[in-house]
């Protein structure tokens, strides 16, 4: 029997649990040439702020063992252009659109979130309180428990849309941050964002990124992400979107077993832009072979001897 891959995440009904992670699929236009967006559970678009910005100077990326370091710096078109020019394209697809947002003050988070309430085609928001690459905002909120509380409270007041908070792994106790998000009315948690890292060129003695530090992603961070999903799963009852180095369906299953209700594919899109559809097919096969009829048969089902 074909397994049922559908899942509901904080009020967002998905045809399957595989999403495209924010910052790895742009606003959908470029990846749609290589990946059938009608097949994926949701696209989480690249972070949007109130005003447009250009991002960081190059070099912005470098390769690392089993991963990459980036400091792109959240270039974006701004909320107005995004709503007017980018959402109409995304509405053409039979998928769910989750808009990733960020701000540099608590009020800015509230304002950018509020701009999306009631916008046709937007199914939910993911608030990025964890980007390690911009001076203001981002990680400053995600690594301070009181700032996290204030920003989630402010966004919650601004919208009736489903609200997902994307957590930073650059903290000692990620479960306490997840708990605060749940207490303040978040509908789901996504984790992990990139791990703060740094690479130095031993020929030039200079950092490989112009920003000096950057966010580490790719398979290198997967065990950290799986551990954190498991910790958060044990601390909250709202659903978890797990991400961090997922490159195939086995990796996806690992996150589900750790407690994720859905997963997002990030850096792997760069290497193979249609990998998310392969993960969907692989997950369906995995469940069919084991007579698992739906995702509740996997989520949080890690067996501890």
């Amino acid at each position: 029997m074909k397994p049922d891959l559908s899942i509901e995440i904080g009020g967002i009904k998905l045809q399957n649990p595989v999403m495209l992670a924010s910052g790895t699929a742009g606003y959908g236009e470029d990846i749609s040439k290589y990946c059938d967006l009608n097949r994926i559970g949701a696209i989480i678009v690249k972070g949007i702020a109130l005003k447009s910005s250009n991002g960081n100077p190059p070099p912005r990326i470098c390769e690392t063992p089993s991963g990459m370091l980036n400091a792109i710096g959240l270039p974006n078109v701004g909320v107005e252009t995004f709503i007017n020019e980018k959402i109409p394209f995304l509405r053409n697809f039979n998928t769910r659109i989750i808009v990733n947002i960020f701000g540099s003050t608590v009020d800015e988070y509230g304002d950018v979130a509020g701009a999306f309430d009631g916008v046709d085609g937007v199914h939910g928001l993911e608030a990025n309180i964890s980007c390690p690459n911009i001076k203001e905002g981002g990680i400053a909120f995600g690594t301070d428990i009181d700032a996290t509380r204030r920003v989630v409270r402010r966004i919650r007041k601004s919208i009736s849309l489903p609200l997902i908070i994307k957590l930073s792994p650059n903290v000692t106790d990620i479960a306490s941050f997840a708990k605060v998000c749940e207490d303040e009315g978040a509908d789901a948690i996504s984790l992990i964002n990139t791990l703060l890292g740094m690479v130095i060129d031993t020929n030039t003695w200079m950092p490989k990124l112009a920003n000096i530090t950057g966010g580490l992603s790719g398979p290198a961070i997967r065990p950290v992400a799986v551990r954190m999903v498991w910790q958060v799963y044990n601390a909250v009852s709202i659903p978890i979107i797990g991400m961090g180095g997922i490159t195939n369906s086995q990796d996806a299953v690992e996150f589900l077993l750790a407690g994720a209700s859905a997963i997002a594919v990030g850096t792997a899109n760069f290497l193979n832009p249609s990998v998310s559809t392969e993960i969907i097919d692989g997950l369906a096969r995995y469940m069919e072979e084991r007579n698992i009829s739906n995702l509740s048969g996997l989520t949080g089902k890690m067996q501890i001897p």
Binding site: G23, T24, A25, G26, E29, D30, I31, K33, Y34, K46, N54, G55, N56, P57, P58, P59, R60, I61, C62, E63, T64, P65, S66, G67, M68, N70, I72, P75, G218, P219, T267, N269, F270, L271, N272, P273
Partner: protein, 265 residues
């Protein structure tokens, strides 16, 4: 997409020619590129694909890549043999737009080192579209061992002017010195189109040389990138007047006055 390695030979010093045969044929124009990745990526230690311009696409569908071994990625690629397979994505990027609408009297091509890779077929394309119009190629490198494709360029070009920094072949100096001298002598007489590919300092110098002249200039740029298709946004290059272009999807070929290479010296 998967391809079989057809051959992979050292052509000179640390320069190699890799010929791959894709299982599905592709089409491309000069200046476009592909992203190459080892088929057994996990074992190779190479995580990100690497961009390479397409040197030639032969009639039987083989993709030819010219590359210089400089680091971990190319160090891996140079060990591939005709029993290997390789993954690629593309072609990506805009390429050189040669369409018969150019009114120039003469075409100038400036190639620095491995930057010659996309320019040989560009020279051929220009000759096909504009038979009889002069195509002058300025080919430069550190030494004679850095000069590639001289015979092929001679087939298409009306003249190939060679410079080496150490004087081991042609005129001693930078490739841009030869261009500068030529334009000083001739610039006011004719309308030129200029196409260049090479290290960013070379392109930056060309910007300075042609800055006050009315020459249509096109640069094919190189950048570190993770995807080649606009997803990672890693391959930023400064836009004139502020902001950034992405080399992969806005380029890799840019009009010389669109990009700000002043920091690239």
């Amino acid at each position: 997409m998967r391809a079989r390695v057809f051959s992979n030979q050292c052509i000179k010093g640390s320069y190699y020619k890799l010929i791959i045969r894709p299982y599905q044929k592709i089409t491309s124009i000069p200046g476009q590129f592909i992203m190459l990745r080892p088929a057994e990526a996990a074992e190779s230690g190479i995580f990100l694909p690497r961009p390479f311009s397409i040197h030639n696409l032969s009639e039987n569908g083989n993709i030819e890549i010219l590359y210089k071994v400089v680091g971990k990625g190319t160090g891996f690629f140079c060990r591939l043999d005709n029993k290997s397979e390789i993954d690629f994505l593309g072609p990506f990027g805009n390429g050189f737009q040669i369409n018969g609408n150019v009114t120039s009297d003469e075409f100038l091509i400036v190639a620095g080192g491995i930057g010659v890779a996309p320019l040989v077929n560009l020279a051929g394309l220009i000759r096909d579209f504009y038979p009889g119009k002069p195509v002058k190629v300025f080919l430069g490198g550190r030494a004679e061992t850095d000069l590639l494709c001289v015979d092929e360029l001679n087939k298409y070009a009306s003249e190939v002017i060679i410079t080496t920094q150490d004087g081991s072949k042609g005129v001693t100096g930078y490739v841009t010195d030869g261009l500068e001298q030529y334009l000083q002598k001739n610039a006011s007489e004719k309308k030129y189109s200029l196409y260049a590919c090479g290290p960013n300092p070379m392109l930056s110098r060309i910007s300075d040389i042609v800055g006050h002249l009315n020459i249509d200039t096109y640069f094919s740029l190189e950048a570190t990138m993770a995807c080649g298709m606009g997803l990672c946004m890693g391959c930023a290059i400064r836009k004139k007047g502020g902001g950034y272009y992405l080399v992969c999807k806005d380029g890799p070929v840019f009009k010389g006055d669109e990009v700000d290479l002043s920091d690239e010296t």
